[in-house]
């Protein structure tokens, strides 16, 4: 990638980060629709299926326009359902576009994530084709133009025994078989969408397929209200013997219609293939250069107790448990390098600190935090900021922030709780961990697991002996430096009220963990 492209991507990332911050201010990170763009697309798909199943009973192949007009004419049992069907299809495309843009600019489209990227493109393509067939079903002016333009473009392919375009020239009435095939495609394509969706999420554990209920029903309610207040209208019926002066196009589905009409089918195909090629090539174009890619995690089998916590926590299902081969009882974890995105979540989940690449295991973090403490010698009133380098206002990239020393981590989820313990026991007044918002974690579940490890005893938990009043978590997006500053200020005030913390010498960190019983291990083994 060239420098200009990188700058453009960086600019787009900043723009998205600012939009995130604005939406967080309005809706909070839990209900920020930008964070739930992928799940909103799925929710829209579900709404499409539901409303589509209803509408299909009233559609007539023999009288397509009249049957849709009849549905639209029924204020109580038709019009608003058709409105929801239409708007849900638009929401799906908008949400998918936002989702794809986020994945692209946040550098989450290469390596093991390439499958999700490519299958996501397939999903969008299927949605477009499904939308195309849906608009043709209405058989109004736009439908006729779509059918004619589609036929013109397809006729350029030397695969049809006779030009499809002849169907729409007016020599004969449009055959019922055309509307039947169109309806069949409209119904069959969602099956392909479901299959592509399954592939899309196949490499991630616990995919969030639906947004939080409040957000989902809020969006649904808004579009329902709109469907009632501003109902869908019908364009004029398709007339094969007239040139339409204007047409209502759906900017999300049929935006290309006025454009492609100006070009020959050859150019349209060339443009389509070029755009497709560029999009499909994204994972290969943006991947780090050889040697710069983060190393996949490995397990030090000497330390691994077989507790399987790393396998449970891994957001990409890259870790599996196997029977040990070194003569010891139980299981051992192994990382599949083809699935590992090097997120580091497993480093935070491993109590004996036996997993991770060089310089990023729990043990390495401990070495680093000891050096950090020696360098900064925190006093009992100092708050140490532990910050994710990818988000959290960007403070993770700073040596210090608002007078607080910063201990950077690649992801809050990769932070081993023993680091927090070490900081508190070595005399720091408090430890503020600044992470990305949960739904915007580069590694999907980093902050979720961190919170459970700190407050809910998830392995590798923060030990009981650590005073929780000296530990705080704050979620802040990339452009929310103010949120981090405010949390730091507030926490400093709390720490001052707590008084100085005790300083321990010769701190020993406990690396024990609970190993599940053999029965549970067998279950993990499947």
């Amino acid at each position: 990638m060239g420098r200009i492209t990188r700058r453009a991507i960086k600019g787009l990332r900043r723009l998205i980060a600012r939009l995130d911050a604005a939406f967080n201010a309005l809706y909070g990170w839990k209900y920020n629709p930008l964070y739930h763009s992928g799940a909103l697309a799925v929710a829209a798909f579900v709404a499409l299926l539901g409303t589509g199943l209803y509408l299909i009973f009233f559609y007539r192949i023999g009288a397509p326009y009249a049957s849709v007009a009849r549905i639209t004419g029924q204020a109580w049992t038709g019009r608003w359902i058709r409105g929801i069907h239409r708007y849900a299809s638009d929401v799906a495309v908008v949400a998918a576009a936002v989702h794809a843009a986020r994945m692209f600019v946040q550098d989450r489209s290469w390596g093991p994530r390439a499958l999700a990227w490519v299958s996501g493109l397939g999903l969008v393509f299927l949605f477009f084709v499904c939308g195309w067939t849906g608009y043709v079903m209405v058989w109004d002016v736009q439908a006729k133009l779509l059918a004619e333009e589609g036929a013109r473009i397809m006729d350029a392919l030397p695969i049809f025994s006779e030009p499809i375009r002849r169907t729409f020239v007016g020599e004969q009435p449009i055959p019922g078989a055309f509307f039947f095939l169109n309806l069949f495609a409209h119904i069959a394509l969602p099956v392909g969408v479901a299959l592509a969706l399954w592939i899309h999420v196949s490499r991630i554990a616990r995919p969030s397929l639906l947004p939080p209920r409040r957000l989902m029903w809020g969006v649904a309610g808004l579009f329902l209200a709109l469907a009632l207040v501003w109902p869908l209208s019908m364009d004029a019926k398709a007339d094969l013997f007239s040139v339409p002066r204007s047409v209502s196009v759906d900017a999300f589905y049929t935006f290309w219609l006025p454009v492609t009409r100006a070009f020959s089918p050859g150019w349209v195909w060339t443009g389509f293939l070029a755009v497709s090629l560029v999009l499909v090539a994204v994972p290969w174009a943006v991947r780090p250069r050889a040697g710069a890619a983060p190393t996949p995690y490995v397990v030090n089998e000497r330390f691994c107790t077989g507790c399987s916590q790393c396998a449970l926590d891994c957001p990409y299902e890259a870790i599996s448990m196997f029977r040990r081969g070194d003569g010891r009882e139980g299981l051992v974890a192994r990382v599949d390098p083809d699935l590992c995105v090097s997120c580091g979540i497993c480093a935070g989940s491993c109590a004996p600190m036996g997993v991770g690449p060089p310089r990023r295991t729990g043990r390495d973090q401990l070495v680093r935090v000891k050096q950090f403490v020696d360098r900064h010698a925190p006093t009992g009133e100092d708050v140490i900021l532990v910050a994710c380098t990818r988000g959290a206002g960007g403070v993770g990239a700073m040596g210090g922030f608002a007078g607080a020393p910063v201990f950077p981590v690649s992801c809050a989820g990769s932070l081993h709780t023993s680091v927090i313990e070490y900081l508190v026991r070595s005399g720091a007044g408090g430890v503020l961990v600044a992470s990305c918002p949960p739904r915007d974690c580069w590694n999907r579940e980093g902050v979720k697991w961190l919170e459970e490890r700190v407050y809910y005893e998830r392995e590798a938990e923060l030990k009981e002996r650590v005073d929780r009043s000296r530990v705080r978590l704050v979620c802040a997006g990339e452009a929310e430096i103010g949120r981090v500053a405010a949390a730091l200020e507030a926490f400093r005030a709390e720490v001052r009220a707590l008084g100085r913390s005790a300083v321990e010498e010769g701190i020993e960190i406990d690396t024990e963990c609970d190993v599940p019983d053999p029965e549970a291990l067998d279950k993990v083994m499947g």
């Binding site: 638009d90 929401v91 006779e162 002849r166 808004l222 094969l240 013997f241 209502s248 999300f252």
Partner: protein, 188 residues
Amino acid sequence: MMRARRVAATVVAVLLTTGVAALSRLPVTLTRSDEARLRLSWRLQGRAGEDCRRPSPEELERLPVHMRNPAACIGRITPYRLEVGVDGRTVVVDTLHAAGARADRPIYVFREIRLPPGDHRVAVRFRALTGALPGAEAGGDPPAAEDPPTGDSSAWAIDEVVRLREREIALVTYDRERRALTVRHGGG
């Protein structure tokens, strides 16, 4: 503060929703012109034929004895010539070949001619090009069409005044019942 945030959140949500709905029914002007169209569309199976020639004695000499055929023939569908005149002006002159990789499919005619609304004298002529390859002899099967041509060359020609309304498409096609080219308008 909280109330102001809620109001702002609601306003933004409503604006976004309305924006999506508005973009889903965007009116686009396709043409500001009132031009009408004369559309020509029909299908013809075409006249199957062979282009044959007599190889020279030298050519025959180079071939194995069992391949020395006195006539070398190439099968083909006869190409057709389309000529369209409007108001005495020739607007289309084209040679149409059979479709398909082997040029053995029917011949498809599809042309659209933009015309101002009003009356126009339209003359269409569609005829087989019987000229064979140099040194060839015409031969082969009689014409086999979707609706077999009558053999009357006037069946594949029209010369009449066509009245076009604003943005109307008039279709010139082959009428199976009349076995002749005909002009159809939207009304029937």
